[in-house]
Structure formats: C-alpha cells, structure tokens
C-alpha cells in the first residue's frame, strides 16, 4: 500500500475508470484519500518495527500522531474540494475476478474508495479524533514505552486504517475488510493488558460477539450479490434507485428488501452493541481508556450506524419499512435498557460504556424513525462529547492508579492539576444530558422530534419509540451527573486503584512487594464496580483540604500533562462547537444544518415526513421544551441524590463523604430491582447459562462422540481382523508340518471334489 502513496501523483492524473457499466454519476477522483491508508500503514509499520528496533521513547507515538494528523488533513482537503456527487478513488483490484459476462458473473471487490459526503462526514471525525486521541495516548501510555508502546500504536494505526477502509469502501467487500479489521484492533486493544484475565476474556468476548453479528453481515453480502450481482455501491444504488434487481425484477416487495436489510442489521447490531449483542461493550472497558474513547465510543461502534446509513436506499426501498421499524424498536429498547444499568453501577468508565450503548440506541432509533440526518448528527456530536468524557475519565484513571469506583473518588475537580479535566467532564456531561444549547441537545432533539412526526403508516408505533427515548433522555441526564457529582465535586477524597501500569513496574502505592500485594487482593481486582465493601476509604479521607499534599502520602495522584490536557481541551471545544453546526445554513438541506447538508447530498438522503403540528408548534420546537425539561429534571434528581452540599451541588445535595449519599438510603427501598440493575440484569449470566454453557456442553458431547463413536467405529473396524485372528489362533500350532499337512490335505480335498464334480 506504500506504493500507493508513492504513485499518488501519477494516479491523480490518470485514475482508471471504475464501473464503466453502472451508468451512475460516479466519477473518478478523490485520490488524495489514498493518503489516509498509506499514512496509517506507514505509522503502523513504524510502530511495529520500533519494537524489534528497540526504540524506547515516545517517537512511535508522535510519529503516529503526525501521520494521523496528515490523514486528517488529507480528508479535510478532500472535503473542502468536494461539492456534491460521488467520486471513486481507485486503488488496486483486491478480490476481483470475472467468470462470465452476465449479471452476477463477476465479483468486484476493489480496494477503491467511494467518496461522497457521508463518507467525508465520517472520515472527518474518524481521522480527526484519531489524531487527537493518539496525542492523548502518547502521554497516557507513557509508562509502557517500548514493546507495549509498539503494540499499542501498531494496533491503533491499524484501527484507523481499517476504519477508513470501512467508511470509505467502494463496495461491501472492502467494507467487510474494514469491519473485521476494526474488530481485530478492538480485540488487540481491549486485551492490551494481556496479563489481566478479565481483559483477555473481555477481548475474546468482544471479538466473538462481533463475529456473530458478522455472520449476518456476510450472509447479507452474499444475498446482495445474489440479488444484485454486485457488491459495489455505485451499481447497487443505481439498481435500487431504479427499484429493480439484477434480473430486472422489482424489489419493493420481494425478499430482497426484507432479507438483506435484516441480515445487514444483524452485522450492524453486533458492531454497535445493540439488543442481544451489547454485552461485549461494557466489558471492553478493560482496554486502555484512549481506546475506549476512540474505538468503543466515537468511531468503531458507530460503524453499524454507518452501515445502515450507507445502505439506507435499500432500507427505504421496502414498502412497509419492516427492517427500519425493527431497527428503531431495537435501538429504543437498547437505549432504555442500558440506561437503567448505567444508573446503578459504580464504575464510572462502565457507566460511560453503558451510556455509549444507550446513545447508539438513539442513533439506531433515529435511523429507524426515518431521521438519518438526526442519527448522523447524533453520531457526530456523540463522537466528540463521549470522547471528551472518556478522555476525562481516563485522565482520572491515569491519575489515581486506575481507580474507577465513584464511591472512592470525590472532589477530583478541585485537586491541583485536575481543573481542565473537571471542566472537560462538565462539558461532556452537559452534552450527554442534553442540556439546552449543547450539541447533544440539538442532535437528540432531531431524533425525538422525528419520532413524534413520523406517521405510524411508515414505521410501527413511532410515538411509542419517541416516548421511550424521552424517558431514556431523563435517565441519561441522571446517571451522567450522578457520576459527575460524585467524582468531581465534593470533598477531596480518593483511594488509588490497582493500575496495570503499576503492577507491571512493581511500584505499588503501598510500597508492598508484588507478591504480598497479590496475596492481599487475590484475583478479580479488575472489576471494582461489583464491590460493595469499601475498606480503607475512611483512612484516606482528606476533608476539605484543598492543599492536600500528596508527598506525605505513599500515593501520588499525578495530574495530566500537556498532551492529555491539550487533547481534552480540543475535544471539549469541538464538543461545544458541534452545536454550531446545527445552525450552519446550507443550500442542500432545509434542516439539520451542516450535517443535514452532508446527508442530503449522500445516498442516505431521506425526506422525512412532518405530520405533527399542534397549535402551530412544530415537533421540533415542542421537543426543545420537553427534552430540555426532561434533561434538567434528570440533573436535578442526580444533584439531590448524589451532589455535595453547597454550590457545587446546585444547593440540592447533601453528600459529605465519597462513599455515602442520599441514594444509599433510597436503594434498599427499591429492593431487588436495584440489585438486579446493579448486576446488569444478570444478562451475562443468562447468556452464560443458556448459550455458552450449552454450547460448551455440545462441544464436550461432540468430543466424546468423536472419541467413542466415530473413532471407536474405526478402531473397531481395525480390531476386527485381530478378533478373528484370536479365534483362529489355536489352529496355528507353529509346527511346520501341521501347516504343510493342512495344505496337502486341502489340496487333496479340492482335487477330490473336482474329480467328483467332473465325473
């Protein structure tokens, strides 16, 4: 792929014609985007080689940042030069071959990019956030300089590479390459702390759950090929626009528009952690936080949204929008479901994880409610504010030795050096809660409003979906600020965690040796969220001491350095600025601002119907009020239950230690519900009991069958001659004459018989 970069200039001049037979508007161009994979490969190779080359510095990190920034610039330049229409940048022929001239007799899986505004929208935040988070990682991973650094940045760059392939692919096959590639990187990065069994299990789980969805995607690909005879978007969209499949049969009410969208949906749900597939994402929080920010919040998990947005023409081509209804309902249910879990668990990073699932549910609901613009906008804003949140949480984690339990941290924002982190967290939380004026507010509003406007004739019970989403919005505001109030406000108080970095380098806070430390903690120290006992917190209180001097303590919470702060600031600013995009007027779309313009110019364009109009109020203006109200209520409840006294808690709170709050009094009253919610509704256990264990049982049975039945039959067949031999053995006395006599007698007998017969 490196040669692509080298030959960039010539190919810019003379790109080969692609899909000459499609007759659509695609034109060659956008070769500049070839720089993106090229730079990623370059950075990945450099990072990988830095291991064997024994580079023990941050150079690979900075190199990656530079390359990713370069990639971002390439995307930006392409965007600036992009007007409308579709350009196809041809790289090389990947899995391309032909065995006939008819439809469906050639497989075209080129390494080529389909450049339209949807692609560019996604690529802008993928590469932009990629570069930003790479910068953050440079500092975050500083403890692992060396082999770990090489591993980390290799996977990181390969991730951006795969994500670019996924987003920019000109055909579904290349999309699948990226799809699996991001899965691999996700696997490698979740399992980055490979000595932690929890991380390894989480990585495995993520990969396998994704694979299950991928099966749907593969089958969807195959069905697409069968129906349309191609996997390239350009000819595909041409046929869908014409409403026919490869044989010219109408698709509107055929199996094509039912089966393929459902299969693709399965893939999308797997990657984006929806409904049955969500279980991998919370566990994925075992990875380093920048990874969670980039992969498991901002980019990779939105691949499912992207896939459906990309294939939106096919979804929309169905008469009864069956698949879209399903998408919407699944999204809404997931949103609510994971929000309930987010409300009850104590691990702030996992709270963010569940919140991501919930917000992804929003996006899918948006897609399903015929608001692709809203979904895309929410994806964009979510990418920024969720990245901000994760980076902030990561900074806390980094500073406190991996501590994530919100009952063991308090008043972090007031500690020296953590100001920026607190502010960034606040920005992110406001966005996530949908406080009026923030980007998150507008993007969420677009989806909600559409939900109340979409006629029930197009989607099954859209209003119900919208109510569910509205409820979720309130819960979201609650759990977001629950985490914020508990960790960032209140008395300064902390208990350091058991960060993997510290473990690796043998310097544990208590100054104990590794072995002793292990003895004290045993295993399973990865998931503090499940712990309810809070030993030793009291010993480490530092009530109201703003001048808390860390040097007198064994543990030194180190505040973030410039790289982390810089990326936090940029990220937070972007999250704020994203709101402005809503007000950008474009000639391409009536609403949705800049994103609306981008979507309208792409294949995902869909003119959503507006039917709601009560007393002259459009659904949007109604939603402004309602969702603002819901969001603020959620915050207020959070403040009442979790906030400290005084202005920090909006004068509602009463908390004065890290561990206790008003919520503690409330929880027992909820009885089992709270316990079950905290146990994540026992979904993992259910899966374990009803899926994993039976499957493993079948595997054991198969193994026994193999050993006893299949192999046993073979062995029995092999033993048959031996058995027969054992029966006949006594006749073999070993005396030569015996054999000879037998033979002679036999011959005599046979001859006699012959004689008798002949006569």
């Amino acid at each position: 792929m490196l040669h692509q970069a080298l030959h960039l200039l010539p190919t810019l001049a003379a790109a080969p014609p692609a899909h000459a037979d499609s007759g659509a508007a695609a034109t060659p161009g956008g070769q500049l985007l070839m720089l993106v994979p090229a730079l990623c490969v370059l950075a990945a190779l450099f990072s990988a080689l830095s291991g064997p080359l024994k580079i023990r510095s941050k150079i690979p990190g900075y190199f990656s940042v530079a390359c990713l920034a370069g990639a971002f610039v390439a995307v930006l330049l392409t965007y600036l030069g992009h007007e409308s229409g579709v350009k196809i940048a041809h790289g090389f022929e990947w899995i391309t071959f032909k065995w006939g001239d008819g439809p469906g007799q050639a497989l075209t899986g080129n390494f080529a990019f389909y450049v339209d505004s949807l692609t560019l929208l996604w690529m802008l935040f993928v590469t932009g956030l990629g570069a930003l988070i790479a910068l953050y990682s440079v500092e975050y991973m500083a403890d692992d300089v060396g082999l770990g650094y090489a591993r980390y940045f290799f996977a990181f760059n390969i991730f951006v590479l795969s994500m670019s392939c996924l987003v920019m692919a000109d055909n579904l096959l290349l999309l699948f390459l990226g799809w699996e590639g991001v899965g691999l990187c996700s696997y490698l990065l979740i399992g980055y702390f490979y000595k932690k069994p929890v991380a390894v299990a989480a990585a495995k789980k993520a990969f396998i759950v994704n694979r299950i969805g991928d099966l749907g995607l593969v089958l969807g690909l195959l069905a697409t090929f069968v129906a349309f005879g191609t996997l390239g978007y350009d000819p595909l969209f041409a046929m869908i626009r014409a409403g026919v499949d490869a044989k010219g049969a109408p698709i509107a009410d055929s199996w094509v528009t039912d089966v393929i969208p459902l299969l693709l949906m399965a893939g999308a749900f797997g990657k984006s952690a929806q409904v049955f597939f969500y279980v991998w994402l919370p566990d994925a929080m075992e990875g380093p936080t920048p990874v969670s920010a980039l992969i498991h919040a901002a980019t990779m998990v939105t691949a499912g949204v992207f896939l459906i947005a990309r294939m939106y023409p096919l979804y929309a081509a169905d008469d009864d929008h069956m698949a879209l209804s399903l998408v919407a309902w699944c999204g809404a249910i997931t949103a609510l479901w994971s929000a309930t879990i987010g409300m009850s668990i104590f691990d702030i990073k996992r709270v963010m994880g569940y919140s991501t699932i919930s917000q992804l549910g929003y996006m899918f609901a948006g897609l399903g409610l015929l608001a692709p613009t809203g979904a895309a906008f929410h994806t964009l804003t979510h990418a920024f504010f969720k990245a901000t949140l994760f980076l902030a949480v990561g900074a806390v984690m980094h500073g406190f030795g991996g501590q994530l339990d919100l009952r063991r941290l308090s008043g972090v924002a007031r500690m020296r050096g953590f100001g920026i982190v607190g502010l960034a967290m606040l920005v992110g939380s406001l966005n996530l809660s949908g406080v009026p004026g923030t980007a998150g507010f507008f993007s969420k509003d677009m989806i909600l409003a559409q939900g109340f406007s979409t006629p029930a004739s197009m989607i099954e019970a859209p209003q119900a979906i919208a109510w569910v989403l509205l409820l979720t919005a309130g819960l979201t505001a609650y759990y977001t600020f629950r985490a914020f109030f508990r960790v960032f406000t209140g008395p300064v108080e902390y208990l350091p965690g058991d960060d993997e970095h510290l473990l690796e380098h043998g310097r544990h806070p208590k100054g104990t040796t590794l072995a002793e430390w292990h003895k004290q903690h045993g295993h399973g120290h990865g998931h503090d969220h499940a712990h309810t006992e809070l030993t030793g917190v009291a010993a480490r209180r530092a009530h109201g001491r703003k001048d808390f001097d860390p040097t007198t303590e064994e543990f030194d919470p180190h505040p973030p350095g410039w790289a982390i702060n810089a990326s936090l600031v940029i990220c937070a600013l972007l999250a704020i600025a994203a709101a402005a995009l809503y007000f950008v007027k474009t000639p391409h779309a009536e609403e949705g601002g800049w994103v609306g313009g981008m979507i309208e110019r792409s294949s995902a364009a869909f003119h959503s119907p507006h039917e709601f109009n009560l007393l002259g109020i459009t659904s949007h203006s109604a939603m402004y009020l309602v969702s603002a109200l819901v969001g603020l209520t959620g915050i207020a409840v959070a403040a009442f239950l979790h906030a400290p006294k005084g202005w920090q808690g909006l004068f509602l709170g009463s908390r004065d230690t890290a561990a206790t709050s008003r919520a503690d009094a409330l929880t027992p009253r909820l009885g089992r519900v709270a316990r079950w919610a905290r146990a994540k509704w026992y979904v993992d256990e259910l899966y374990d009991w009803f899926l994993v264990k039976p499957l493993r049982g079948i595997a054991y049975v198969s193994s026994w069958i193999d050993k006893l039945l299949v192999d046993g039959l073979v062995d029995a067949a092999g033993a048959l001659p031996a058995r027969v031999g054992r029966v006949l053995r006594p006749s073999q006395s070993g005396v030569l004459h015996g054999y000879a006599a037998g033979m002679a007698g036999g011959v005599a007998l046979v001859l006699l018989l012959v004689l008798i017969v002949l006569n």
């Binding site: 899995i95 007799q105 991928d214 593969v218 014409a242 869909f606 193999d706």
Partner: protein, 557 residues
C-alpha cells in the same frame, strides 16, 4: 524437464544425505529444499500464466507401453500453485527440525526429501498410475516420520494413519482402474493418461458414475479428511514431529482435495451434481462439529489438528458448490490453509521444544515470556480465523459465496424435485443459502476456539510447567540453555516463519494474481459440470434496467 527435475532433485539430495555424513544431513537437506524451491520458482516464471488452464511443461516417457503406462508430467496453474506451496513449506520444515531432531538424523532428512519428491510428483503427474504411485508413496515417508520421530503414542498413530488412508485409497484405485478398463473396453487401447480417461469416464452411465464417485471419494475424502473419516488426523498430528505436522497439514491434506478436484469432479460430473448437496451437508457438519471438538481440547496441537477438519470442510464445501466462485475459493483455500495451519503447527512445535508440553493446563501467558512467538501466533491465528486482509479470508469468503449460490448447480434427482432456476425463490432455491448460513457459523466457532487458545496460551498470567519454575524471573532458564534455545525465537525460527507470514499478507491483500491464474482451470472444471447438467452454462444475460427518470427524485413515494 522442469518438472522432472523438480522430482529428481529432491531424490538426488535424499541420496546425498543417505550416503553423506550424519552431521551435515540437515544442511544438505536445507540446500536441497532451497534448490527445489528455486527450481519451482523458476518454473513459475517460465510458466505461461496466460494459458493457465493448459498443462504446461508436458513431458512423457514410455514406461510400459504394453500396458499403456507412461511417465507423463505436466502442470496447470492450480497444480503449479500447489507445487509452489510444497516447495515453500520444504525449507521451512527443515528449519523446524534443525534442533528438534537429534537422533537418526540422516534417515530423517533423507525421507523428508523423498517425501518432497513424492508430493511434487502427485501434483505434476499426468498419468494415473504415476499419480497413484506418488500419492501412495507419500505414505511411507510420513509413516516413518511419525513412527520414528513422533512422541509417545507414535506407533499407534502411524499405524492408524497408514492403514486408514491406505484402505481408502485402495478403494479409490479400484475406481480409477475401472475407468481405465472402461476406456480400454470402449476405445480398445489401454492408457492411463488422465485426459483420455476423463473423457472416457464421462461416457459412463450415471449409476456407474455414482459408484465411481463413491469409490474415489472414499479414497480421497479420507485424505482430506471429510467429516466422518477424519479420526486419523488428530492422532497423527499430535504424535508427528513438528515438520511432519506441517507437511501433513500443509500438503498431504491437499493431496486429497487436489485429487478430488482433479478426478472426482471431472470423472463423475453427473454423479457429483446428484450428490453434491448431501456432500455439502457433510462438509457443513464437519465444519461445525470439528470446530466444537476443537473448543474442548486441552492439547494445543490437537486443537489445531481438529481445526483442519473444520477448515477443510470449508474447502470441500466450496468444491461441492460446483460453481465458479466456490471452486475458485476451494483452490485458494488449499493454498491458504497450507500456509496458515502449517505455520500454526510450526509455532506449536517451537513451543513444545521449549516446554516439552502442549497442554493448555500447564502453560499460559507466554506473551510475557516470548513476545515474538506470541506475535506470530496471534498473526497466524488471525489468518486462520479468516480475517479479511490476510490470506484465509479470500478462500473462505469465496467458498461461502459458492455455497450460497450453489442451489442451481446442485442436482435434484435424489430429492425428487427439479432444480431451482434462480438461486433464491426456485424450488430448491433456499438450500444453498441455508447451507452457507449454517457453514457460516463455522466462522464464529473458529473465532471461539482459536481465541480460546490464544487467550489461554498467549494471554493471561504466566504459567509454565513445573520444571520451568525457575523462569519466573526475567532471564532464561537452564532448561532452555540445555536445549540450545533461547527463551524467545531464534533467527532461524523467525526465518522459517517470516516468509510464510509475508505470503499470508500478500495473498490476503493482493490475491489478484492467484485469482486470475486459477480462472482458466476452474473454468474448465465448472464447464465440465455445466455440460453434464445438459444445460447451457450461462444464463442469457439479463438487460440491466436503466435507471428511470424519476429515480433521481427519491426512492420513496
């Protein structure tokens, strides 16, 4: 002469090794393998890839003209690829045995060279008898490699391997001889030229073809191995020395698939059409069953061995899809499986050399101890799982694609209905998609068991066998030094793995040359099948409806 030299050179080196001193055997063998590799690369350059469907480098020497026996050689692009695969794995195997084999070194390497010659002979043969001789002759060196250099249960494994595969191929021989006899009956001449027999076999009535199919499959499916006939494989793999496993997985199994590709499909096309669906179901069962059995293994090598059962299920599924995509995928799968699974066995062998155990109960978390080894392991596991961008994916996807579309290739006689015309919506239209969907779960199971293995062996907390407890600190233990091996891989070992890894990446990122090269032979096979169906191969091309005017305004009402 090109091909003859490819067979003669390894044999000559085998002779050198046999008469030469014990100490230089490994080096001579390496030189011999490299010479073979060089020759095969030369052959690849001399080959006219534009005419890949024709047999090139043909040569024919009369052997016993009275019986119509000749020594005729020739390769088309598929065979040449497999020759290349064999040649590539040769030096790798020698490197893998460098320190592992310490006794009877001469015998070992001499047989290895003989094996190499026999395997190349199988792919290069254009005469049935010569093919069969080479096919069977591979058993003897392999038997000895397992029986003399294997681990504890080696004698049983070797015997089982030998008897199982030999019994099968005797039946296959009967089938092949019947075809030759039929040729002699109808044409009046005895010949064993594969081309002539191919034409003769197709004139057989369908029920005889079915018998031929059964006989050939019984012989060749054992070698593949197809689902119920696989039990020799795990045992042979676990007991064989590393190089033996590599060759076994890399090339010997391909002898079976190649034989099916070369004989079963062209010799009995009508019967294949008839029985392809049940066979595909069998492959599917093999995929899932093999995968599940993998999952509960504790012996790493056995796990990878069972994974071959699952993987070759995909390969055969593509083959029995009987359409272009499927057969192409199947051919690619042969190459890819040879590379990635061969490399996995190599890696496990390296681990075994260091720890003398392969049980996942005793070892774990080796990522901390052997980063380079672990990197390679993860890499090849990913190739094996079928990650796009690495070699495994291309073949797997095409096989699935073939199966998905296979409905209209599969015969209907057995099921009493007429073949569906379109793939989905025809009478039997949904069979292919269902088979593909069920087989597709094999992808998931592959991820489960391979990642399970990686999770146990590479990741997690470091666990080493009791004898190696002294390595808990960060320097090499005495046991390693005793074996002359450092903790992590040596340059020799990396040298053995790196070329395979490079090939994996190349074939994954740019499979185009291979795809193009195999088109012509696959075309030939698929056309044979299509002709046997008595239907025109190509459906008349349907005009693409031009995009209507109003389409631009929006797809929805």
């Amino acid at each position: 002469m090109m091909l003859a030299s490819l067979i003669i050179v390894p044999l000559a080196f085998a002779l050198f090794i046999a008469v030469g001193p014990e100490r230089s055997a490994a080096r001579v063998s390496l030189v011999g393998m490299l010479a073979t590799l060089g020759l095969s690369i030369l052959a690849a350059f001399a080959f006219d890839w534009g005419f890949g469907g024709q047999f090139q480098f043909g040569m024919s020497v009369d052997w016993l003209p009275g019986l119509g026996l000749t020594l005729s050689l020739g390769v088309d692009s598929v065979a040449l690829m497999l020759v290349l695969l064999t040649a590539v794995l040769g030096p790798v195997c020698v490197l893998a045995s460098w320190t592992a084999i310490t006794e009877r070194v001469k015998t070992y390497y001499a047989w290895m060279m003989v094996l190499q010659a026999a395997m190349i002979g199988v792919f290069a043969a254009r005469d049935l008898v010569f093919f069969y001789i080479c096919f069977e002759f591979t058993l003897i060196p392999m038997f000895l490699l397992i029986a003399l250099y294997g681990s504890t249960n080696r004698m049983r494994a070797a015997t089982k391997f030998f008897l199982f595969t030999f019994t099968g191929s005797v039946v296959a021989l009967a089938g092949l001889l019947y075809v030759a006899w039929h040729h002699a009956q109808t044409r009046g001449v005895w010949t064993f030229e594969i081309d002539a027999l191919e034409l003769a076999a197709r004139t057989l009535p369908p029920h005889v073809q079915a018998l031929i199919l059964g006989a050939l499959l019984l012989g060749f499916a054992v070698k593949v191995p197809l689902f119920p006939l696989h039990t020799w494989l795990p045992l042979a793999h676990t007991e064989a020395p590393t190089a033996g496993s590599v060759i076994l997985a890399g090339v010997l199994l391909k002898l079976g698939t190649y034989a099916i590709y070369r004989f079963v499909l062209p010799f009995a096309p009508e019967a294949v059409i008839e029985y392809a669906y049940p066979l595909a179901v069998l492959c599917t069962i093999g995929i899932i069953y093999g995968g599940l059995v993998c999952w509960v293994q504790t012996d790493v090598k056995k796990l990878v061995a069972y994974s071959s059962v699952a993987h070759l299920g995909f390969c055969m599924l593509g083959m029995f899809a009987l359409n272009h995509a499927g057969v192409t995928g199947s051919v690619l799968y042969m190459l890819n499986h040879g590379l990635s699974t061969g490399a996995l066995f190599l890696l496990i062998g390296m681990m075994y050399e260091r720890y003398h155990t392969r049980s996942m109960k005793e070892i774990g978390g080796l990522g901390a101890r052997m980063p380079v080894w672990s990197t390679f392991l993860v890499f090849f596991v990913m190739a094996s799982v079928g990650l796009p961008g690495l070699n495994g994916f291309v073949g797997e996807f095409l096989c699935l694609m073939g199966a998905f579309q296979a409905s209209d290739a599969w015969g209907a006689g057995l099921w009493g209905t007429t073949p569906g015309d379109s793939t989905v919506g025809g009478t039997r239209g949904s069979l292919g998609p269902w088979v593909a969907a069920v087989a597709g779960t094999g992808m998931i199971i592959a991820a489960i068991y391979l990642l399970y293995m990686v999770g146990k062996v590479v990741f997690g907390t470091l666990r080493e066998p009791p004898g190696h407890a002294s390595h808990a600190d960060h320097h090499a233990g005495d046991a390693h030094r005793a074996a002359g091996l450092p903790v992590d891989l040596t340059r020799r070992e990396i040298g053995a793995l790196a070329p395979i890894a490079a090939l994996c990446v190349f074939l994954g990122v740019y499979p185009k040359p291979v795809l193009d090269a195999v088109q012509a032979p696959v075309e030939r096979t698929v056309t044979t099948i299509a002709e046997a169906r008595g239907k025109p191969k190509f459906r008349p091309p349907v005009e693409l409806a031009p995009p209507a005017e109003h389409a631009a305004e929006g797809a929805h009402p």
